[in-house]
Amino acid sequence: MIRLDCPYCGLRDHEEFSYIGDATKVRPAHGGESGAEEWFDYVYIRDNPRGPHQEIWQHIQGCRAFIRVLRNTLTHEVLASGLPHEDLSGKAGSGS
């Protein structure tokens, strides 16, 4: 069973959370110069790595906050978690 470390509530069962998706995709700016290709990339293209993956979860049955989680998709090990804007990419080896 996976447990996720919510920055607000502490270590909680992952059944309390709702999975949102890949945290590394950045929405193109509104009204900017972005063309169809950038939107296509944002909407449809995912790397889907086998190994550490940064993703957004929502603590839907807790504080309802969105959090960022670094999780290994092969072992389901949760490597790090933090606020949604934090970049966790350097924490792959730290474990939790």
Binding site: Y19, D22, F40, I45, R46, N48, R50, T73
Partner: protein
């Protein structure tokens, strides 16, 4: 290939079943093949079968990293149906269902396909409306059998469901496809593996992870038994599609949530009908095995783990019990989990790839097993002719760039919502 018949069974019974021949070969690979299919699951083996049978391709190899049919071919609901709404899906799955009806005969191997009907239950008025729309304005217009059942009719057919006033999932009615049913999944894998129509087909358990791609063509596949040259390559590796693609970056990415299921020990609970419990779990009773199985839809998380987890087992149990209280007397015999290759619209991708001689068969979401005959049929056509069959023309990879999605559930570009 040894033909199976009542006579051969009797003859081998007299000799104590000691001299049955090995059902399929595992030869050393040649230097090169006209077509290499990566993945010896239901889709890969059906594709190789129809390449040889329908398109007369001579040298075909099927590469498999694990054991035969050990991926989602061995981890699914075994339900076969074609109750789809959108045209791209409906005609494709209907073709597949028609191929299922002939499959045991075609393979000379009993795949135990039993058309005892598949029923989706409605638990609210709006679900009944949706089923009425699906049955009357989609399935029947597409020439597919569909029956709308009211509550009383469901109760007559499946009296073991919870019809009490306090039922957690009240039953309003159901959508039944009488021609739907189940097949024995292992038998499909074995039947395909032993059958070599016309062409000389090799089947080797090989690892085929890396591709040599000078320019925009694949010239060879690197395997544990050396490099094998290839004319064309077809990928049918479901949840692993991202990994062997390597250089061929896969455009509409697949995600891989887990599915989980339980096999329960029981006497015949009901051998006439298969409830397809739309609430939260599926009940299936595979033919000849006598034990009902409970299965649940996938958990919506990216994963390569190919196993379930404990909360899922509880989910399946509680949903099953809420629908069928008598299940509380059963014990769990075994449980299983797997990964699903979710596409961005919930429909499969069968077609050409950005690499000239690479073809993709993936994105099966939760619908792969029932599609395997049709999938092999159109994938073989696509590989042989370098152009899609009319049944998979709409299921191409380019549809995402063009915004022409085949979104049966209307859930939008979110793999975890399909």
């Amino acid at each position: 290939m040894a033909e199976y018949s009542a006579f051969s069974l009797l003859r081998h019974a007299l000799t104590g079943h000691r001299d049955w021949r090995r059902a399929w070969r595992d030869p050393e690979p040649r230097k090169s093949y006209d077509v290499i299919i990566v993945g010896a699951g239901g889709h890969g083996m059906a594709s190789a079968f129809y390449l040889a049978k329908n398109h007369n391709v001579g040298r075909i190899a099927v590469l498999e990293k694990g054991y035969l049919g050990g991926g989602n071919t061995g981890r699914n609901t075994t339900i076969v149906r074609s109750n789809y709404m959108l045209e791209e899906d409906a005609h494709f799955y209907e073709k597949s269902l028609q191929l299922w009806e002939q499959l045991s005969h075609e393979l000379n191997f009993n795949v135990m396909f039993s058309q005892r009907g598949v029923t989706n239950l409605a638990h609210s008025d709006s679900q009944m409306d949706a089923f009425a729309r699906r049955a009357r304005s989609a399935m029947r217009l597409n020439g597919i059998d569909a029956e709308l059942l009211d509550r009383k009719q469901v109760q007559r057919e499946m009296p073991y469901l919870d019809f009490s006033e306090n039922a957690r999932f009240p039953i309003y009615g159901g959508l039944k496809q009488p021609r739907g049913g189940t097949a024995r999944h292992d038998a499909v894998a074995w039947g395909r593996a032993r059958c070599r129509p016309a062409g000389r087909r090799h089947h080797s358990e090989l690892r085929g992870d890396w591709l040599q791609t000078p320019g925009n063509r694949i010239t060879a596949v690197e395997t544990t038994r050396g490099d094998i040259g290839c004319g064309k390559v077809g990928f049918a590796v479901a949840g692993r599609t991202g990994a062997p693609c390597g250089q061929a970056r896969h455009e509409a990415s697949d995600r891989k949530p887990c599915a989980a299921g339980l096999r329960l020990g029981a006497a015949e609970a009901d051998d006439r009908y298969r409830g397809h419990l739309r609430g939260r779990a599926f009940l299936c009773q595979p033919v000849g095995q006598g034990r009902p199985g409970l299965r649940r839809r996938h958990r919506h998380v990216n994963s390569y783990a190919q196993r379930g987890n404990t909360p899922m087992i509880e989910h399946v149990m509680s949903a099953g019990l809420a629908m069928i209280p008598s299940l509380s007397r059963l014990r769990v015999l075994r449980h299983w989990g797997g990964i699903m290759d979710m596409s961005m619209d919930g429909s499969p991708i069968i077609g050409k790839s950005p690499i000239d001689n690479l073809y993709l068969n993936c994105g099966w979401c939760y619908g792969g097993f029932k599609a395997t005959p049709g999938s092999g049929w159109v994938f073989a056509h696509t590989i042989a002719n370098d152009a899609p069959h009319e049944l998979n023309a709409g299921l191409n990879l380019e549809r995402f760039r063009r915004g022409y999605l085949v979104d049966e559930r209307g859930a939008g570009p979110y793999p975890n919502r399909h």
